[in-house]
Each structure stands twice: as structure tokens, then as C-alpha cells.
């Protein structure tokens, strides 16, 4: 059976998605018997949600500028004009 180290590598790297049936079977066996690695895998899935939300927050726009051109709060005055 594969080790916890190998299992976590397969899961965290995404390699498991590209693996053949034998590796998937071995990973499935390991998952079945190892609650720690099951927890790791569940957390890794939650990490996907966290990173998706992180990405969205990074791409948030600044506040829209005032219509009269007096400037918003985004601190982008230097780019105007």
C-alpha cells in the first residue's frame, strides 16, 4: 500500500487526477484505512473553495469614481488623465 506521504502528494499535486487505474486503486485503499489522510483530502477540497474566494477578492474593483470627477477612495488619482 502507498504511504501517507505519497497519498498526500497525489492529492495535493493533482497528480491523482491524471493517474492510471492502479494508482487510483492504491489511493482508494489508503483512503479507506487512513482517517488522517481522509481529513487531509477533505481539507484540500476546502482549500479549493478558499482559494477561489481569495482569487475573487483579489480581483475586486476599487470604489467607483465620483461622477463629478472629484475622485473616489481607491487612491488611483495618479492614473487619471
Amino acid at each position: 500500500m502507498i504511504s501517507c506521504r505519497r497519498f498526500t502528494d497525489l492529492v495535493a499535486s493533482g497528480e491523482l487526477d491524471d493517474s492510471g487505474w492502479l494508482t487510483r486503486l492504491q489511493a482508494g485503499q489508503h483512503r479507506w484505512v487512513c482517517r488522517r489522510c481522509r481529513a487531509f483530502e477533505r481539507n484540500d477540497r476546502v482549500l479549493d473553495d478558499i482559494l477561489s474566494a481569495h482569487r475573487d477578492r483579489l480581483m475586486r474593483p476599487d470604489d467607483p469614481p465620483d461622477q463629478d470627477g472629484s475622485g473616489g477612495s481607491g487612491g488611483s488619482a495618479g492614473s487619471q488623465g
Binding site: 501517507c4 484540500d44 476546502v46 481569495h54 482569487r55 483579489l58 480581483m59 474593483p61 476599487d62 467607483p64
Partner: protein, 208 residues
Amino acid sequence: MAQPPSQRRSDPVAAHVADNVADNVADWARRWRTPMLRFAQLHIQPKEDAEDAVQEALAAALAASADAPPVLDPRSYLFGILKHKITDRLRQRYRREQPVSELVSSDLDEALFDDKGHWHPGVEPSLWQSPEGMLASDQFFAVVDACVHKLPSKPARVFSMKELLECEADEICATLGMSKTDYWQCMSRARKQLQVCLTQNWFEGGER
């Protein structure tokens, strides 16, 4: 494509369209420049290079908008252009770098696993409890940001291309000139370290 001023004067409709396009892009620049720069700086250093990439993206948006239909989703449009500009720069900069295996040390795995590859006592993962509102918490994302910034440089580069630029694995390997095995190694290192960091600093830590 913008028309020469003399031609614009004789064609008021074209002049009006061109002015609208310029106004739109100027408005985008005011609203989106800072988040675009923040995003670019995650991938490109120094800051001046990141600013250049943002400037190029805005200039490309201006050039493309004149002939294109109205943009309904400026965020996707501008970040789409910016991602290409960032990828181009990463390709030029990192293609001939040294192999990843030399740079991704196994110190983390040694801290987590024993010689047989089993979890060391005390460091094994436990299920994260995800309270309602965690994904809306500024404090939580400050921790996420800090954890991302602690990643070693090469895994961080691969990780941010995958998770933030949303590039496919093959594109990342081609851009950075690395093998698939190196790519997996970097991603494994980055995601394991992030899980450990978030566990220590949020899920089991006391920053809430």
C-alpha cells in the same frame, strides 16, 4: 482602431464612438488599476515590472475596444488581458531557470512524515471546521494572504499560475520550462504548506 483627428472631424459619429471608448477605458483604469496591480504583483516583481504589465493590459484594452463590441464584464475582460501579459513576462523570465527539484526542498515532508512516510504524531491533520461566514471574513483572508506569501518562490510561482491565473498544468510547464513531475512537486509542496499554515494560524490558532 482610432482614426486620425482630421478624419474624425469630418465624421462626427466615428469621433463620438472613439471618445466613448476612451472614456470607458479611462473609467476602467480608475476603477480597476489598483486591483490589477495588486494581482500582477503576486506574480511579477519588482513593482515597476508589475506596473508595466498593467499598463500594457490597459493599453491593449484601449486598442482592442475601438473595433470590438461593448464589453459587458470589464473584470473578466481586463483580467483576461492581464493574465496573458503576466504569462508572457513569466515565460521570458523563467524559461531557462534551474530545475525545480533543486529548489523544492523536502524539509516540510520531513517535518510531517517519518522515514516510512507515515504521519508524525502531533502533526497529523484534523478536519477543518468551516464556520458560516469564514469566507466573508477579512481577517481570515489576511491569514490566507500571509500563508500564500510564505511559500518558497518556485512553488509559489507555479501555485499562483495555477490557482490565481487559472492556467492549465501543460501551459504552466511550457511557460516555466519544467516537467510535469516538477509541476506536481511544486503544487504538492505549496498546497501542503498552505494546509499546515492555515491549520496553525486559523483553524487551531487564535487569530479569530
